[in-house]
Amino acid sequence: MSFINYSSREINCKIVYYGPGLCGKTTNLQYIYNKTNPDLKGKMISLATETERTLFFDFLPLALGQIRGFKTRFHLYTVPGQVFYDASRKLILKGVDGVVFVADSQVERMEANIESLENLKINLAEQGADIERTPYVVQYNKRDLPNAAPLDEMKRVLNPTRVADFEACATVGGGVFETLKAVARSVLRDLKQMSS
């Protein structure tokens, strides 16, 4: 749910990184955090377990600049990917303006990708949203690994509606900002469309 404040002339939007456990959602946010000018970002919060698995969410506030005199801020969240944290995922998805689905390219994680994507659709539907009408992009992460599944196969299975998609290697940053820009652009275009 975007929040437009005329008094402080700010537009705030919420973007959620979704995907199976260990696919690199937190790594995406960490890379964005490390590479962003300190003036444009807030503190990154990670509510994680002792073994650094996301327990509730990661949160990174980011300022992207101004549109017609309005500061645009994006609040980036990740969900915990492990299957049994579904209740937490539902809570974090509430009020979302745009979704990034981070897929793990490793062949042996294809099942987990499919399961997570199905879970995303169900959880969006529970709050009255439809993935096909939500600003949404797909990222195929870990493309550098030797056991990565063929890209065509991943696209066929995980992106049948052909939304914008990107190959990535979040540990070194490849594709991370491209993904962020695409989803942010999609969110703003969607808000514009809703207004006109």
Binding site: I45, L47, P61, F70, K94, L191, K192, S195
Partner: protein, 161 residues
Amino acid sequence: MRDTQLVMYDEDFRKILGVAQRLVRDANAKGVFVVDRNGQLIGEAGELRGIDTTSLASLTAGCIAATGGLAKLVGEEDFPVHYHQGQRDNLHITLVSNRIILVVVFDDRSSLGLVRLRVKKAGAELAKIFEEIQKKSEQEPHGSTPFAEITDDDIDNLFSQ
């Protein structure tokens, strides 16, 4: 989901700020924060300058969301009032109208009883203000958001900065 977009004009903002400032005085609080249930900070008042309010808003919303989930597990609709006691400062968190979260930070210059009493009145005032905001946005849904004037070029320019 997205039909609940919150659009706040200067007039509404001043009213909310007025309630928050009065609550700081009446409850002898260090700070008062008004947060949207989705984690956006709407307004703040008090002496707590320099703290990370963006994180405060996000974590407060997370806290309300998590305990709301717990409430449903035990058959409650919500746990609308939370109290966290610290060594020096305490937090009183209230869910107002199922949409807005009112956070009061106070120390031993005040008391839980006083904060509870004052929050009750301030919460009712905030509920009324947000009801009006809601009504306005239903009457003219997305009517005058800045997005109506934004072009695709404006959006593209944002990413070339």
